[in-house]
C-alpha cells in the first residue's frame, strides 16, 4: 500500500472485528420483501406484484421520493453505465409496484457524468441542490466516485456508490458514502486467493492495469500469496494507453504456473488473442477477473484461447450459476437471457458481474429509509438514516439480494458477499466454486462511525 495518510484510518481496530456473529442477522432484512418475494414467485415471477402494506410513514404516502442516479452514459464507462441504468430502472419499477419506499413512489432523476471526476462532482451538486433529490447513487468508476464523494459529504447527502473500489472501505471518503450493494475489490481478491493458489498453482505472474485499481490486485493478491506459501514470479503493470501486449508476455518466466490477469479496458480482446499467439498450447494456467470481459460475448472471435481458463465472477453470467428462484426472477426483471445477454438483442451482453449492485443498493436504501423513519433531507432524518444503515449487519438472500446474502460492516460502510470462480467451457462460463463470506473478510482499516455528521 501507499504511505497514504488517513485520519479516518483505524488500523489498530481489534482483529476480533472479523468474527461474524449471526446473532443480529435480521436487523438488515427486508421483512416485507421476503413475503413479497414469495408472492411474486408463486405468480411465476412475472405477475403483478401485490402492493405491500403502506409503511408506518402514513402521511407522506403520495409524495415521491426522488433518487438521483449518477450514471456513465458517455466516456470510458459507457458500456457499464448502460446496464447500470437498465438494472436501476428495473429495480425502481419493481419497488414502485411493491408500493414504493415507505409508501412513497420512487422518482428517478438521471444525470450523465461522462465518466469524468469533474463533471461527476458537478452532477452531485446538481442532483442535490437543483433537483433536490433525497439520495444519490449508482456511481461506478473509482476516479469519478473519489472526485464526487467530497461534494456529497459537504452537501450532507447520502451517496450510495456501486463501484467495487476499495475507496469506501479504506476510509478514504466520508461518512455520507456507502457501498452496500457490491463487495469491494480487496475482499474479492482475498476471497478467491486461496482457491487460485490451491487449485491452479503457487507461482503466479500478475498482469494488471498501471493505476489504482490494478494496485489493489497487486497488493492484496501478493499479500495473500505470501501468506499462503505462494510466489509472485513477475509483476507486469500495463499503462492505461497500451494497445499491444505481446511484449509483456515475453517477460513472464518460463516456470510460471499461473497467469493472473486484470485488464480493465477496451484492449482485452487483443490481450487474449496475443496471449494465445504467444503461448500457444504450452501455456500456464490462466485466471482472470471478468471486469474486462463485461459486456463482451464469450464467443467473440479471439476469445477461443480462454477455453479452459478460470475467471472471477461477481454474479454468474450464465443461468444456473446461482440456482435460486430469486436469481431467475432478477434475471428476468432486468431483461437478461440465460446467456447473460439482453432478451431483446442477444448480441447485447450485460455487465452481469456488477450491475446487480444497483438493484441491491436500491433495496438497501428502501430498507434504510423504512427502518429509520426517514422523511426528508433534514439533518436529523439524514443522521437517523445513516446511523440506521450503519447498524445493519446482514442482508439476507432474496429478491432484494439475489446475488447472495451479505454481511454489512457499518464501520466500513461496505458489504461483503460471496464471489464466484467460473471455468470457460464451450465459450460459456460455468461456476466451479463459490466462496463464503468469511473468505473475503479482512482486518478493517477504517471506522466512519467516529466521524461527525
Amino acid at each position: 500500500m501507499t504511505k497514504r495518510k488517513n485520519e479516518n484510518s483505524e488500523a489498530e481496530t481489534n482483529k476480533s472485528g472479523m468474527a461474524i456473529t449471526r446473532r443480529a442477522a435480521l436487523t438488515g432484512t427486508l421483512a416485507g420483501v421476503g413475503a413479497l418475494a414469495g408472492a411474486a414467485l408463486i405468480g411465476g415471477g412475472t405477475g403483478p406484484l401485490i402492493k405491500s402494506a403502506r409503511a408506518h410513514t402514513g402521511g407522506s404516502a403520495d409524495r415521491p421520493i426522488k433518487l438521483g442516479f449518477q450514471v456513465h452514459r458517455t466516456g470510458i464507462g459507457a458500456a457499464y453505465g448502460r446496464w447500470y441504468e437498465r438494472t436501476t430502472v428495473a429495480a425502481v419499477k419493481l419497488i414502485n409496484s411493491m408500493g414504493g419506499i415507505a409508501g412513497r413512489p420512487i422518482e428517478l432523476v438521471i444525470e450523465d457524468d461522462g465518466t469524468d471526476p469533474k463533471r461527476g462532482a458537478e452532477v452531485v451538486e446538481k442532483l442535490a441542490t437543483k433537483h433536490n433529490v433525497e439520495f444519490i447513487f449508482g456511481t461506478l468508476f473509482s476516479h469519478v466516485v473519489i472526485g464526487s464523494a467530497p461534494r456529497a459529504g459537504e452537501l450532507k447527502i447520502p451517496y450510495f456508490v456501486v463501484s467495487e473500489g476499495y475507496h469506501v472501505a479504506s476510509g478514504m471518503l466520508n461518512r455520507y458514502v456507502f457501498q452496500p450493494g457490491i463487495t469491494d475489490v480487496r475482499s474479492q481478491i482475498t476471497a478467491i486467493s486461496s482457491w487460485v493458489l490451491g487449485n491452479l498453482g503457487k507461482n503466479v505472474a500478475m498482469i494488471y492495469p498501471d493505476y489504482a485499481f490494478g494496485y489493489n490486485h497487486r497488493d492484496y493478491f501478493s499479500a495473500a500469496a505470501k501468506a499462503q506459501g505462494g510466489k509472485i514470479s513477475v509483476l507486469l503493470p500495463i499503462p492505461p494507453t497500451e494497445t499491444s501486449y505481446t511484449k509483456y508476455f515475453a517477460r513472464i518466466p518460463s516456470d510460471t504456473e499461473v497467469i493472473y490477469h486484470v485488464m480493465v479496458g477496451p484492449g482485452v480482446l487483443t490481450f487474449v488473442k496475443e496471449m494465445g499467439e504467444h503461448f500457444g498450447s504450452k501455456r500456464p494456467k490462466i485466471f482472470g477477473f471478468l471486469d474486462s470481459l463485461e459486456a463482451v460475448d464469450m464467443a467473440s472471435p479471439g476469445l477461443e484461447y480462454l477455453e479452459g481458463t478460470h475467471f472471477w465472477e461477481g454474479m454468474p453470467r450464465y443461468a444456473g450459476g446461482i440456482d435460486t428462484p430469486h436469481e431467475r426472477f432478477y434475471r428476468q426483471a432486468v431483461g437478461v437471457n440465460d446467456a447473460g445477454a439482453s432478451i431483446q438483442n442477444p448480441k447485447d451482453v450485460s455487465t452481469y458481474s456488477h450491475m446487480f449492485g444497483c438493484w441491491e443498493t436500491l433495496f438497501f436504501i428502501k430498507d434504510a429509509v423504512e427502518q429509520s423513519g426517514y422523511q426528508d433531507r433534514s439533518p436529523k432524518d439524514v443522521a437517523r438514516l445513516i446511523e440506521t444503515s450503519e447498524g445493519f449487519q446482514w442482508l439476507n438472500e432474496g429478491i432484494a439480494h439475489p446475488q447472495g446474502a451479505k454481511k454489512f460492516d457499518g464501520r466500513l460502510h461496505q458489504c461483503f458477499g460471496p464471489q464466484f470462480i467460473s471455468k470457460v467451457e464451450n465459450a460459456k462460463l460455468r461456476v466451479v466454486h463459490r466462496t463464503s463470506i468469511e473468505d473475503g473478510l479482512y482486518a478493517p482499516e477504517a471506522n466512519y462511525t467516529k466521524q461527525s455528521l
Binding site: 501507499t2 463533471r119 462532482a121 441542490t129 476516479h143 473519489i146 472526485g147 493505476y211 489504482a212 492505461p240
Partner: protein, 320 residues
C-alpha cells in the same frame, strides 16, 4: 486601449466583481455552487487568455500548469501537513516554476511547432502523474478531507468546505487575477504583448526583446492557470490525473474563444456560458461533448472573435 475609457473600464470591472459578490446573497444553492466553480475555472481561462489573447501564442498544453497548481497544493496539504493557504501558495509556485522552465525551452519553437511542444510536455506531465502513482494515486486520485481543509486565520477557524468561505475565496482569487490582467492589458508591457501578437518581426525591429516578453507572458499565464488549479484542489477536494489530460487543455481554449479572445472579461463570460450550455443540454442529450464540438465549430465559422470580441468590434470599442 484608449485613455478616455479609463473610468468606464474601472467601473465596469469593479461592477462585475461587486455583482458577483452580491450574487451570493440572492442565488439559490445550486447556482451558487455553480458560480464558485465558474469563478475558479474562469481564472484558468483568464490565465490562458494572457498567452493566447494578448500575446497570440496558441497552447494545447495548459493543463500542465493547472495540474501543477492542483498537485502542488494537493500533495503538500495531503502529505506535508501544509495549511490550506500554504498549500495553495506552493501550488502557485510550482506552476510559476514550471512555466518558467517550460518557457525557456519551448519558446524556441514557433507557430504550429510551439503548439505541438505544449501538447507534448503536457502529455509527459500527465504520464508522470501516472508514473508516480505511489504518491499521486494516479488516475484514481485522492481526496483532501474536511479536516485538512480547515485552518485558523487570526484566531478564527476557516473551513474551506463551507459554502460561504468557498464562494468568497473563489471570488477573491478570480478578482485578483482579473484585475491583474486588466492592469497588464493597459500597461506598456501589455501593449508590447499585443504588438507581438499583431506582428512579432516588426516589434522586434522596434527594439523590443520579444523573447523576454513572450517568456514573461507565458509565466504570467501559467502561474494564473496554476492559481486556478490550486484553488480547485482546495475547494473541490479532489486531485487526480484526469485534470492533466489534453481535454483540460482544450477547455480553456474553448472558454476564451467563446467569451472573446483578448478581452479581459471574455474568459468569465465564456466559462459561465459554456458551463450552463453543458448543464442545460445535459437535460436533453447525454452527449455533452457533442455540444462542445458544435460550439467550437460555430465559433470558428461565425464568431471568431467570441461574444465580447464581437461586441467590442461592433459597438463597445472601449472594452479592454
Amino acid at each position: 486601449m484608449r485613455r478616455h475609457g479609463a473610468a468606464k473600464i474601472i467601473v465596469l470591472h469593479l461592477g462585475v466583481i461587486g455583482l458577483l459578490f452580491l450574487a451570493q446573497f440572492f442565488l439559490p444553492a445550486y447556482h451558487q455552487s455553480n458560480a464558485i466553480r465558474i469563478m475558479v475555472l474562469a481564472t484558468y481561462a483568464v490565465g490562458y487568455n494572457v498567452l493566447m489573447g494578448y500575446t497570440g501564442l496558441l497552447s494545447l498544453g495548459h493543463a500542465m500548469f493547472f495540474a501543477a497548481g492542483l498537485y502542488g497544493a494537493g500533495l503538500t496539504i495531503y502529505y506535508l501537513d501544509f495549511t490550506p493557504l500554504q498549500g495553495v501558495g506552493f501550488g502557485i509556485l510550482s506552476a510559476c516554476a514550471l512555466s518558467f522552465v517550460f518557457g525557456l525551452l519551448a519558446l524556441r519553437a514557433r507557430g504550429i511547432a510551439f503548439l505541438i511542444v505544449t501538447m507534448m510536455f503536457a502529455q509527459a506531465l500527465f504520464l508522470t502523474t501516472l508514473y508516480f502513482n505511489e504518491i499521486t494515486l494516479g488516475d484514481q486520485g485522492f481526496v483532501l478531507s474536511e479536516k485538512l481543509r480547515t485552518m485558523t486565520i487570526g484566531g478564527a477557524v476557516v473551513k474551506f468546505s463551507d459554502p460561504v468561505v468557498k464562494y468568497n475565496f473563489a471570488l477573491m482569487v478570480f478578482s485578483a487575477c482579473l484585475l491583474l490582467t486588466l492592469v497588464l492589458a493597459r500597461s506598456p508591457v501589455g501593449r508590447v504583448l499585443v504588438a507581438i501578437r499583431e506582428n512579432e518581426a516588426r516589434t522586434r525591429m522596434l527594439g523590443y526583446d520579444t523573447e523576454r516578453y513572450k517568456l514573461l507572458s507565458l509565466v504570467i499565464s501559467g502561474t494564473i492557470s496554476g492559481v486556478s488549479g490550486a484553488a480547485y484542489a482546495l475547494l473541490f477536494a479532489y486531485i487526480g490525473s484526469t485534470f492533466a489530460t489534453i481535454q483540460y487543455s482544450i477547455f480553456p481554449l474553448l472558454w476564451v474563444l467563446l467569451g472573446g479572445v483578448g478581452t479581459t472579461l471574455g474568459p468569465l463570460v465564456g466559462t459561465a456560458l459554456m458551463f450552463y450550455l453543458i448543464d442545460i443540454s445535459s437535460d436533453y442529450t447525454s452527449s455533452y461533448l457533442l455540444v462542445v464540438g458544435a460550439v467550437l465549430l460555430v465559433l470558428v465559422l461565425w464568431f471568431p472573435k467570441g461574444i465580447l470580441g464581437t461586441l467590442r468590434e461592433r459597438w463597445l470599442s472601449w472594452l479592454p
